[in-house]
C-alpha cells in the first residue's frame, strides 16, 4: 500500500533531468500540436517552491527543515534557474515570526525570488506583514518575452465580523482546509479589472503565464480547490492563443486544460493533500498515495521549463520518488502525446 522509496539520489536525479532536457531538445517536431515553435528546447527555466506552512522553528522544526531542503535543491541546480517562484502559504497562521522565518530561509536562494501570497499568509493581519516583507501581492513582469502575472486569488468575503471573531480565530478558520465557515476564494472585481488592463497591450499571440494560489477553475468547493469567479477570470484570458496558469494550494500533481488555458499545480514542502473525493480533471495523472510513514513522501519542489510560445514543461521533483515531468506536448495534445509515467500504486 505504500510507495516504495525510489533509490534515486540527488546526483542521478540531475543526470536524469539533464537527460530529459536533452531528449526534449532533440525530440522530433510533431506537426499540428501546440505552438509555432513546436517541441524545441525550452527558452528558459525557473524553479518553484510552495506551501511551506511554517510555524516558528521552536514549535515545529519539520516544516522549516523541509523549506530549507527545497532551498538547497534549488541552489544546487546547475545552471541556476532564471528565478525562483514561491507559490504561497509560506506561513501556517500568518504570524509575523512565521513570515519572517520564511523570508530568512528564502533569502538564502541564489537566484532572484518572485513570490505569491496564500491564504495562510494573509488572514491574521490581512496581509500587513506580508506586504512589508514582500510588497504588493498583485503584480506583473516580463521575462525573456513572456508576460507573467501574479494574482492574489484567495480573497474571501467577510465571514468574521458578524461572528465577532478575533483575528486569530479568523486565521484559524481559513487555515482549516475543510472548515465550512469560511467563504470561497475569489480574485474579485478589482483585480479582474486590473488584470484586464494589464493584459490590454498584449497581442493574442503573446506568451502568458498566470500565477494564482488557488486553481483558477472550479474543482472542489469544500476545500477551496476552487476560485469562485474563475469563469470571469477565464473570460479575460480567452482571447489569447494559449495561457499557462500555475497554482499552489492543492499540494499534489494536478493537471487540467480548459480551452486555451493549461493548468499546473505545485508540490508543497509541508505535506501532500489527498485528491478531492469527487475526482480530478481528466488530464491529471494522480500521484500514488503518499506513505504515511515517510513525512516527506509526496512533498517536493520543481522546475518549470518555459518554451518560446509560453507553454511549459512542468517538473514535479518529488522527494523520495522519481521526478515526473508533465511536458507541454501532453496538455497541448489533450493528453494524447508525451504521456507522463503512470504510478503503479492507486492514489486512494
Amino acid at each position: 500500500m505504500h510507495a516504495q522509496p525510489d533509490s534515486l539520489d540527488r546526483r542521478s536525479f540531475f543526470r536524469r533531468s539533464a537527460a530529459a532536457v536533452g531528449a526534449a531538445a532533440f525530440a522530433p517536431i510533431s506537426v499540428g500540436v501546440g505552438a509555432p515553435d513546436a517541441q524545441g528546447a525550452p527558452a528558459f527555466r525557473f524553479a518553484y517552491i510552495s506551501d511551506s506552512h511554517l510555524y516558528s522553528k521552536s514549535l515545529n522544526d519539520r516544516f522549516a527543515r523541509a523549506l530549507m531542503r527545497a532551498v538547497d535543491d534549488v541552489n544546487n541546480l546547475d545552471p541556476q534557474p532564471d528565478f525562483v517562484f514561491y507559490g504561497g502559504d509560506l506561513a501556517q497562521l500568518g504570524q509575523a515570526h512565521e513570515l519572517e522565518l520564511g523570508a530568512q530561509i528564502l533569502s538564502r536562494l541564489r537566484a532572484p525570488l518572485r513570490i505569491m501570497v496564500g491564504e495562510h499568509d494573509w488572514y491574521l493581519d490581512m496581509g500587513a506583514r506580508w506586504r512589508q516583507l514582500f510588497g504588493e501581492p498583485t503584480y506583473s513582469f516580463d521575462h525573456k518575452g513572456v508576460h507573467f502575472v501574479v494574482l492574489m486569488s484567495v480573497v474571501e468575503a467577510d465571514f468574521w465580523t458578524k461572528r465577532g471573531m478575533t483575528p486569530m480565530e479568523r486565521m484559524v478558520t481559513v487555515a482549516g482546509l475543510d472548515n465550512g465557515v469560511q467563504s470561497p476564494f475569489t480574485v474579485g472585481p478589482e483585480q479582474r479589472a486590473w488584470l484586464h488592463k494589464d493584459l490590454e497591450k498584449l497581442p493574442n499571440s503573446a506568451p502568458l503565464i498566470i500565477f494564482s494560489h488557488s486553481p483558477l477553475y472550479k474543482l472542489y468547493k469544500n476545500w477551496n480547490f476552487w476560485t469562485d469567479d474563475a469563469d470571469e477570470v477565464q473570460a479575460i484570458l480567452k482571447r489569447f492563443d494559449r495561457v499557462v496558469v500555475i497554482h499552489g494550494h492543492t499540494h499534489q500533481i494536478l493537471t487540467n486544460r480548459i480551452g486555451n488555458i493549461h493548468f499546473h499545480g505545485l508540490l508543497a514542502t509541508a505535506w501532500p493533500w489527498p485528491y478531492p473525493p469527487q475526482g480530478v480533471p481528466a488530464l491529471t495523472i494522480q500521484m500514488s498515495r503518499p506513505d504515511p510513514f515517510n513525512p516527506l513522501d509526496g512533498c517536493g519542489d520543481g522546475e518549470i521549463l518555459v518554451h518560446a510560445d509560453g507553454l511549459v514543461d512542468k517538473v514535479y521533483n518529488l522527494w523520495n520518488r522519481s521526478p515526473i515531468t508533465v511536458a507541454k506536448g501532453y496538455t497541448a495534445s489533450w493528453g494524447k502525446e508525451c504521456v507522463p509515467p503512470k504510478p503503479n500504486r492507486p492514489s486512494f
Partner: protein, 199 residues
C-alpha cells in the same frame, strides 16, 4: 417597619411560595411528563443564557461537514415491536440514538481538528493531511501494516499518527479521545464497503 411586621411579612411570603410550589407540583404531576419538564427548564435556561447555551454540536457541524448517522425511522413503521420485549421503540428512542451517536462523532471531529486536543506538540492536527478524514480508509483495517510489521487496527494507525506527525503521546485504546476519533473517522466513510486487509 417593625420587627414583628417584618417577621409576619416573611411568614406570609414563605406561605405563598410554598403554596405555589405545592400547587405547581400537583398540577405538573397530572399534566407533564418528566421529559417535558426537563425540556421546559432547559428551554428557559437557554433563553436566559443565550451565549452560554451549549451549542457545540451545531457549531462543530457548521465548521466541519459530518456524515449523518443512519436513519432508523423505518423501525417505527407498522407494528414491528408489538408483543416483543425487544423492539418496541418510540420516535424518542430513534431520535436519541441518532443524537447520541452523532454527538460522539462530532466530538471526534473536534479532536481530529485540534492539535491541542490530540496532545500534539508541533501544531499538527489530523485534518492537516486528512481534510474531512479523507485518505484514512478505516474500512481497510485490520490489515498487515508492513511499516509496523504486524496487523494493525484503525486505532493503531491513529496512534501512530498521534505519536509521529502530531508528536503527542499514544492514546489509551479505550480513552474517550480514541473512541471519539474512531467514531468520526468511521462516520466519514459511511457507505463505503468494508474490505479488511485491503492495501
Amino acid at each position: 417597619m417593625s420587627a414583628d411586621a417584618k417577621r409576619a411579612a416573611v411568614i406570609v411570603a414563605c406561605a405563598i411560595v410554598v403554596a405555589v410550589i405545592v400547587g405547581c407540583a400537583a398540577g405538573l404531576k397530572q399534566t407533564q411528563t418528566p421529559e417535558a419538564i426537563v425540556t421546559d427548564h432547559m428551554a428557559q435556561w437557554r433563553l436566559r443564557n443565550p451565549d452560554r447555551a451549549n451549542r457545540w454540536v451545531e457549531e462543530e457541524k457548521e465548521r466541519h461537514k459530518l456524515q449523518p448517522p443512519a436513519d432508523n425511522s423505518d423501525i417505527l413503521k407498522g407494528e414491528q415491536g408489538k408483543g416483543h420485549a425487544y423492539g418496541g421503540y418510540t420516535e424518542r428512542d430513534v431520535l436519541l440514538w441518532a443524537r447520541e451517536t452523532e454527538k460522539l462523532a462530532v466530538e471526534g471531529s473536534r479532536i481530529f481538528h485540534s492539535a491541542d486536543r490530540l496532545g500534539g506538540t508541533v501544531g499538527v492536527s489530523c485534518d492537516m493531511c486528512h481534510p474531512d478524514a479523507a485518505n484514512t480508509h478505516p474500512e481497510t483495517y485490520p490489515k498487515f501494516q508492513p511499516q509496523l510489521g504486524r496487523v494493525a487496527l484503525l486505532r493503531d494507525m491513529i496512534n501512530w499518527c498521534v505519536q509521529h506527525p502530531v508528536r503527542g503521546k499514544a492514546l489509551a485504546p479505550d480513552s474517550a479521545e480514541m473512541r471519539a476519533l474512531e467514531a468520526y473517522i468511521l462516520a466519514q466513510r459511511k457507505g463505503t464497503p468494508l474490505n479488511y486487509g485491503k492495501h
